[in-house]
């Protein structure tokens, strides 16, 4: 079959939708280094990308950016959320202080609360973190859904050495660990990672995390830093 006969199939082939004889012929031409078919497939990729963009515009959910970035350990610069958290925190502190004042019949504690707020709000207030040098083991939770996969929420993750990354493993009962994706933690040692592959919950023994080379491994090469055993 000539390239002229195949050119109407290039777009479908580039989409992974060509079938039967035409599919086999294009593959054959490409394997033979056919310049015409190579160029045709390249152009088809671009045509396809343009057609894909005929999709009608919709609003992108707030928070998606933060979620995507968290999954690779990047910090979001979404100041809108920061402002919301800051406002919520300030409101909480104010509420706690107010309740404390009410419960203590507005006695001397009013002055103490004012002083507390003055410290919290004072621009000249300095902050020192304590207890940071004490190693805290990773903690968090693993959520498993047969249809939607595994969601890992973790904190206190150690900073990976240069050239290494975290790898998630799904371990069937009595079976070998299955690689289920790579992820990074953020600068605070937290990570949220979704492995969307469906899971056979009935045979799932554990979910684990190891440190692996940046390209990932097909089997664990280090001691797990997280092991979440599934209870029956």
């Amino acid at each position: 079959m000539t390239c002229e006969h195949l050119k109407d199939e290039y777009e479908l082939h580039a989409l992974g939708l060509s079938e039967g004889f035409e599919h086999a012929e294009i593959e054959h031409h490409l394997r033979q280094g056919c310049a015409s078919c190579r160029a045709g497939i390249r152009n088809a990729l671009l045509t396809n990308v343009l057609i894909m963009q005929l999709a009608p515009d919709v609003e992108v959910p707030r928070g998606l950016r933060k979620r995507v970035l968290a999954s690779v350990g990047a910090q979001s610069t979404d100041w809108g959320w920061r402002a919301i958290w800051a406002t919520a925190t300030a409101a909480l502190v104010a509420a706690v202080v107010w309740l404390g004042v009410e419960n203590r019949q507005r006695t001397d504690y009013t002055a103490e609360a004012k002083q507390t707020l003055a410290i919290l709000n004072g621009a000249e207030t300095r902050q020192v973190v304590f207890g940071g040098s004490v190693p805290v083991p990773p903690q968090g939770r693993v959520l498993v859904n047969a249809k939607h996969g595994v969601l890992l929420l973790a904190s206190n993750l150690p900073k990976p050495p240069a050239g290494q990354t975290y790898e998630l493993w799904v371990i069937p009962k009595g079976g070998s660990p299955k690689p289920s994706g790579l992820f990074q933690s953020d600068s605070h040692g937290s990570a949220m990672y979704l492995s969307p592959t469906p899971v056979d919950v009935a045979t799932l023994g554990a979910v684990a995390v190891t440190l692996e080379p940046a390209a990932g491994s097909t089997a664990p090469t280090s001691t797990p830093i997280i092991v979440a055993a599934m209870s029956d």
Binding site: D8, Y10, A14, L15, G16, S36, Q53, P56, R65
Partner: protein, 196 residues
């Protein structure tokens, strides 16, 4: 309403080269720039396919993780980031549709091979400009109802021509004619630069 943000992103091919290099060095902040450049178009495409906000969010995250994890195979000098990301995004969404429908297609393997980063080297991204986008939109609107339907079934539902024939209860030859004539009309309106 149609949306062509990738066309504008394609104008930043120089920026894409530098961004791709930073992604290859696994700089997390480069991912923020990648999302700002292509996150919206990725979500819009995936949502059109799966039509569910939560699922679309999951698949956008999976798309960006997949790109992040496969960046080492991407040619940052010659590669076209936008077309690659959109292809990965469509594949994830179509893969999801197939798993929900229980139709693991015979060509499922192609979904993996048609997104290999090497395929997106030396793409002439300058052909992605707003003039061609407008022409494509106009050309699409001029298609017959059957032609529009087969294009949507292929691009947004991942159906092969045989599967379309089953779905539409039409002879395979008829469906093939609609697909070829529709693509021919769109290709011709896109101009010689995209023609083989």
């Amino acid at each position: 309403m149609f949306f062509f943000p990738l066309l504008f992103a394609a104008l930043h091919s120089e920026g894409d080269r530098e961004l791709a290099e930073r992604l290859k060095r696994r700089e997390p902040q480069a991912m923020a720039e990648l999302y700002d450049r292509y996150g919206r178009v990725t979500y819009v495409l995936i949502f059109r396919i799966v039509r569910n906000t939560g699922t679309a969010e999951d698949l956008v995250q999976e798309t960006f993780l997949r790109v992040w994890n496969r960046m080492q195979a991407f040619d940052s000098e010659k590669g076209a980031l936008g077309p690659w990301i959109l292809t990965v995004a469509r594949n994830r969404a179509i893969d999801y549709l197939r798993s929900v429908d229980g139709r693991m297609a015979q060509n499922a393997f192609e979904l993996e091979t048609n997104e290999h980063p090497s395929l997106f080297a030396n793409l002439e991204t300058e052909v992605l400009n707003s003039d061609r986008a407008r022409r494509l939109k106009t050309a699409f609107e001029k298609l017959t109802a059957n032609q529009k339907q087969v294009i949507e079934l292929a691009y947004y539902e991942g159906l092969s021509q045989s599967e379309m024939a089953d779905r539409m209860k039409q002879p395979l030859g008829t469906v093939k004619t609609w697909v070829r004539s529709a693509l021919k009309a769109l290709r011709e309106d896109l101009g010689e630069a995209l023609a083989v």
